[in-house]
Amino acid sequence: MIVEFGHFALILALAVAVAQSVLPIAGSIRRDPALMAVAPRASVVQLLLVVIAFAALTYAYLVSDFSLLNVVENSHSQKPLIYKISGVWGNHEGSMLLWVLILALFGAAVALFGGNLPATLKANVLAVQGWISTAFLAFILTTSNPFLRLAKPPIEGQDLNPVLQDIGLAIHPPLLYLGYVGFSIAFAFAVAALIEGRIDAAWARWVRPWVLAAWIFLTAGIAMGSYWAYYELGWGGFWFWDPVENASLMPWLAGTALLHSAVVMEKREALKVWTVLLAILAFSLSLLGTFLVRSGVLTSVHAFATDPTRGVFILAILCLFIGGGLALFAFRAGSLSQGGLFAPVSREGALVLNNVFLTVAAGVVLFGTLVPLIVSAFGGAISVGAPYFNTVFGPLFGATLLVVPLGPLLAWKRGDLLGALQRLSVVFVLAALVALVVAWLNGATHLLAAVGLGVAVWVLVGAFAELWTRARFREAGLATGFRRLVGLPRSAYGTALAHAGLGVTLMGIVVTSAFQSETIVEMKPGETATVGAYAVTFDGIHSAAGPNYSEIVASMSVRRDGVLRFVAAPSRRLYTTRQMPTSEAGIHTHGLSQFYVTLGGEGRQLGAVVVRMWDKPLVTLIWLGALVMMAGGALSLADRRLRVGAPKPARRAAPTVAAD
């Protein structure tokens, strides 16, 4: 009965979404406040209904209701509670329901917290949200209904794919979707602005918090997914340039560009048209990501069971929203007024350069991701893997990173490049020194690593140059300097932290890639092998049983400098229901580095096992950097300027950089 309530609620949600799509727009055209007021109410009601539907499905999973096809296919009565819950979105139908839930959540959030929005803008924004909701609710109800009953329910379910039975995967999809779907708000604002044909600095101020929130979640989702792949798949890598990973990276790049161009628009009323286009692109790339993951058109290690009709439906949604958005843009962009002027060397100029680099980077990733599709349409068969992306994306993003510390040091309108470079001279010397020391210690073999580390230091330390400059310690002395430092707006700290996070991540990537040690050995009990700084003794194996799997666990004593540091327990599991083997890596973190071991099959000698081990120096920095970026985003989000709504156009925020 509860399941039928959920199903019914979902159908009602579609009806509400249709109303929300049409009435507010009609209201804004006819200047009818009553019709426009439908929008916020409809979005709140829609959220409630989708929550009911989602709760009903969750309930079916919790009580293992095997009369539901979806539960049968993805759950098992013996599955631990947390994976019963995460199983709700560990499959196609449920994950689409989560998608719509988050969409409704964002819509309701705009309705509830958008009190300072002009009535017509709010009505139009929510109506556009309604279009997206309508499309995806119709998609779920017609092609991917999670509430389908079975005439003859089986006694037991088929269990969730074992690699998804992991805490990382329990939280990765919600985070990623919060990011993807968050860009729908930016899209809705952009379309609403195009419909009204009016856009100003206040628009950017309203949009920016949503973009920032979406960006924080997307960053978290990508980092989480990367860490999950690292420890769960047992390949020891953190990024595979898999189409689905690219699908999350592209919106991130576009979203990052949008964040920066929205700053220009907010402060200087420039780049309006471009910002609107970026808002459409960021969400388009999110939709494309959903399409790539859900349709299985590309061979990917992530794509699960696929169904062509769904692919076609999502493709139709994709064309409708991307095509419609871009067509509206082409039609109306001319009516948007031009913004303020600025010199090429200025804060705006630096942000434009940032945008150029980021969008081009997103473009080459898009090209590399889609080119196998294009080639296969002409009968060829190629695959584009890590070598392409490393060759193309590496230099482009590297160039972006080089200019990151410069941007914040340039003044608005007209900047002083020489002055900025002078202020960064200490940082430059430091970075060059690091690069030289690394090159000197490792010889010519690690030249790229030396350069990479130099760039990482340049970005990491250079990120704080703006704060340092604005505090003006040298002229004002320590006390005044500190007072100034504390008085700086949080967004300044946010910028510094987010940029520093990039440096941290880069440092992790460079050090791990260049200096990790790896070995594959066959070991008999009692034997010792070394990898990097570790001596590892294989003590033996034993069997164990989990709630829904049996496993063989190896115990390996890991010594560093002769001292026993920990006992690793890599295992090979066999999930009984699906008869599917998985390996669980044994990972030990010490400081910022990790020791990583996975268990292969049996060796050739009796009682021997094959193991693959890594010493991964500073590997955690890769994900810690993402945490730092997110902290930066959160600080920016907490900035007074965004919390205190009422926008005053072109208000000068805080003392500007002393450049003139």
Binding site: D307, L341, V610
Partner: protein, 160 residues
Amino acid sequence: MTKAMTRKTRRLILIGTVGAVLAAAVGLVLYALSGEITLYRTPTEIAEQPPKEGQRLRIGGLVEAGSVVRGDAGRVDFKVTDTATALPVTYVGLLPDLFQEGQGVVAEGKLDPAGLFHADTVLAKHDERYMPKEVVDALKAQGVWEEGQPGGPMPPTAKN
């Protein structure tokens, strides 16, 4: 007059910058496409038309039953077959959990002059119901693809 000039100059600088970055990107893409892409070939295609030396290849097929030989230090030799031709493959590393004789597999690497394929990547999927698309295509091309083969790895979900 000067104002108009500066506006024009600024626009030129902007276009120049965008053009430069785009040109660099296109150059990088072309460079990468000339050397870094991986061609997909079936074992039969490789036998009929040997690829250029040094060309990265991606091969798909089934792991031939009884062909897996484990060597020292994680070296594994096996044969990938599309049921018409079998290609010997050597790989050093831990094979994916779902790697099994008779199951679908995708390997990436290079062919040596002796006709041995040195794989640096071996992929099986997350899902035991999965059959790599390339494998399905290869088997279809050989005319040996049957829906729901008995005991075979062909799941309904891998149909294309």
